[in-house]
Amino acid sequence: MLNIVVCVKAVPEPKESCKITIDPVSKTLNRCEVAMVLNPLDKNAMEAALQLKEQYGAHITVLSMGPPQASPIVKECLALGGDQGFLLSDRAFGGADTYATAFTLASGIKKVGKPDIILCGMASSDGATEWVGPQIATFLDMPVVTMLKEIVNSAGDCWQVKASLEDGYRLLEVDLPALFTVTRDLNEPRALSFSGIIKARKKKITVWGKEDLGVPEESLGLPGSPTIVSEMTTTDNKRQVEIITGSREEMADQLLLKLVDAGAI
């Protein structure tokens, strides 16, 4: 049986994330009530784990780092078919950059027990750095394949996979245990089922804080982060806009005329 860890993240609802803005005067974030959801690409990571479980039998651990409000996201993954859930949550984890985040998640994975496979979404919709997956692999001394788009052969301890490239793909061979970051091409995530939600009620989410991880506090959160935000500024991309008005027909005619006049069409 495979031991699989899926790392997931609670992110602001992508459709509403534009509501978070920088205040031009105070240079701080204007946060507002934006709902937290499961990072879209993490659904593909979860789906990959579920398919492996169906094929070979597997025990799926869902792991997240975040505030207590991230707990429903872990629960959602348990309802999809995860077996156990862990939330790494502590004020000491706050302010972590990708390096400290990866270190914290890797510490959590070590405590869970070293898995055969770790799956992460390729990037989070809010940070979009793509660093956490490969850096977890580094801290656990595992090989990594980023941008996984197809698992060609998953029999045995040496997998053949395809990773996406700018214009095509790479065919790779990788020795397990290994970490993969997945793209949308990999699969079509399943929807939550009613029976899954009922079953998840009985599944426990364990919350671990800094003492549970047993790592030095200076390697966590802001103190453990090599990078910091030094400054926030607003930008000015403004152009003098001409709003074209009228009926739909008139607007289409006018826009066409403008584009033709400008030599763009």
Binding site: P14, K15, C18, T21, I22, L29, T98, Y99, G127, A128, W131, G133, P134, Q135, T138, F139, P143, V144, V145, T146, M147, S164, L165, E166, D167, G168, Y169, R170, L171, D175, A178, T183, R184, P226, T227, I228, V229, S230, E231, M232, T233, T234, T235, N237, K238, R239, V241, E242, I243, I244, R248, E249, M251, A252, L255, L256, L259, V260, A264, I265
Partner: protein, 330 residues
């Protein structure tokens, strides 16, 4: 010249033996940073049979090239490349390491940064030195720009997309020092690239297109996206997208424009059903005519374009496509 700071490094990338554009653009920026720091520009280039290409790099502004030249390095191999770069970086202690935000760079950079226990900033749109000679790494976020610094750890590392910095002027005859790296006899790796398969992209390539039609979340669904494709076909345009459009699965990931996608400089840009978030808009530079279609008159995109249409794009775009078709045939 005082040389107290370590060199500025660029991790070079070659595809089929050709050094890619972003590497040369980064050498140009590295040259500027190195001049300010009073240090040198060094490039690490790994591949097979690429000594001539390595020598060509000097004319773009490099002072020294570390060349790994071996059949096993022909194609990017994550663990072998990481090991070579980490070992060399520990020895030479560069102040800054820059990589292209290519698929290779996006995998290699976090591996190298974690092994060197240092910070890494993703997809910067500008790199400048502040008064303390610390690298301010600018990225768009939350409708503005944030500057990220790595105050204590070294090297300071960043990835940058193709097109953020211009190609430097070529100085013909400029030379430098080529150092061929001694490689371990058996380079072992738990993950091995067996083959790289390149496919011809469909349609007009985004990076060089004269006309770009970009769609966002407001396009609504795959039917709405088909209307975008129809319009693009009519204008012989490339199709671009925002992250939400890609997240919804309508758009190909390679079509994403902006900070973590492609940088474009078309003549005409039409943004459809997108709000104008900076992460997307920052990918469009020097565009002559910009148009937005969005049903929300308050969308910030209307402050960043020349012509705005406040309407439901699902209704407006098919009509516009039809009008353009009639104009073409009439």
């Amino acid at each position: 010249m005082e040389n107290s700071k370590g060199p500025v490094w660029v991790i070079g990338e070659q595809v089929d033996g050709q050094v890619v554009t972003v590497t040369l653009q980064l050498i140009g920026q590295a040259r500027k940073l190195a001049s300010q720091l009073g240090t040198t520009v060094e490039v690490v280039l790994l591949g097979d049979n690429i000594e001539e290409q390595a020598r060509n790099i000097f004319s773009f502004g490099a002072d020294r090239v570390y060349l790994g030249n071996a059949p096993v390095l022909d194609q990017y191999q994550s663990e072998i490349y990481t090991d070579i770069i980490v070992k060399l970086a520990k020895e030479k202690e560069p102040e800054i390491i820059l990589l292209g935000s290519t698929h290779m760079g996006r995998e290699l950079a976090p591996l190298v940064a974690a092994r060197l226990q240092t910070g890494l900033t993703a997809h910067c749109i500008d790199l400048v030195l502040n008064q303390e000679n610390i690298l301010e790494q600018k990225i768009p976020a939350y409708g503005g720009l944030i500057s990220i610094i790595c105050p204590e750890k070294r090297p300071q590392m960043a990835t940058v997309a193709k097109g953020v910095f211009p190609l430097p002027e070529v100085e013909t005859g400029r030379t430098g020092e080529l150092i061929t790296l001694e490689l371990a006899a058996d380079l072992k790796s738990r993950v091995r690239t067996l083959e790289i398969v390149r496919t011809k992209p469909d349609g007009v390539p985004l990076g060089t297109a004269k006309v770009v039609i970009a769609g966002g979340a407001g396009v609504g669904d795959t039917n709405g996206w088909a209307e975008i494709e129809e319009l693009a076909g009519e204008l012989n345009a490339a199709i671009g997208s925002t992250r939400p459009a890609m997240d919804n699965g309508w758009a190909d990931p390679e079509s994403m424009i902006g900070q973590s996608g492609k940088m474009i400089c078309p003549d005409l840009y039409i943004g459809i059903g997108l709000s104008g978030e900076l992460q997307h808009m920052v990918g469009i530079s020097g565009c002559r005519i910009m148009v937005a279609v969005n049903n929300d008159p308050k969308a910030t995109v209307f402050e960043q374009v020349d012509f705005g249409i406040v309407d439901d794009c699902r209704q407006f775009i098919p009509l516009l496509t039809e009008k353009i078709r009639q104009h073409r045939s009439g």
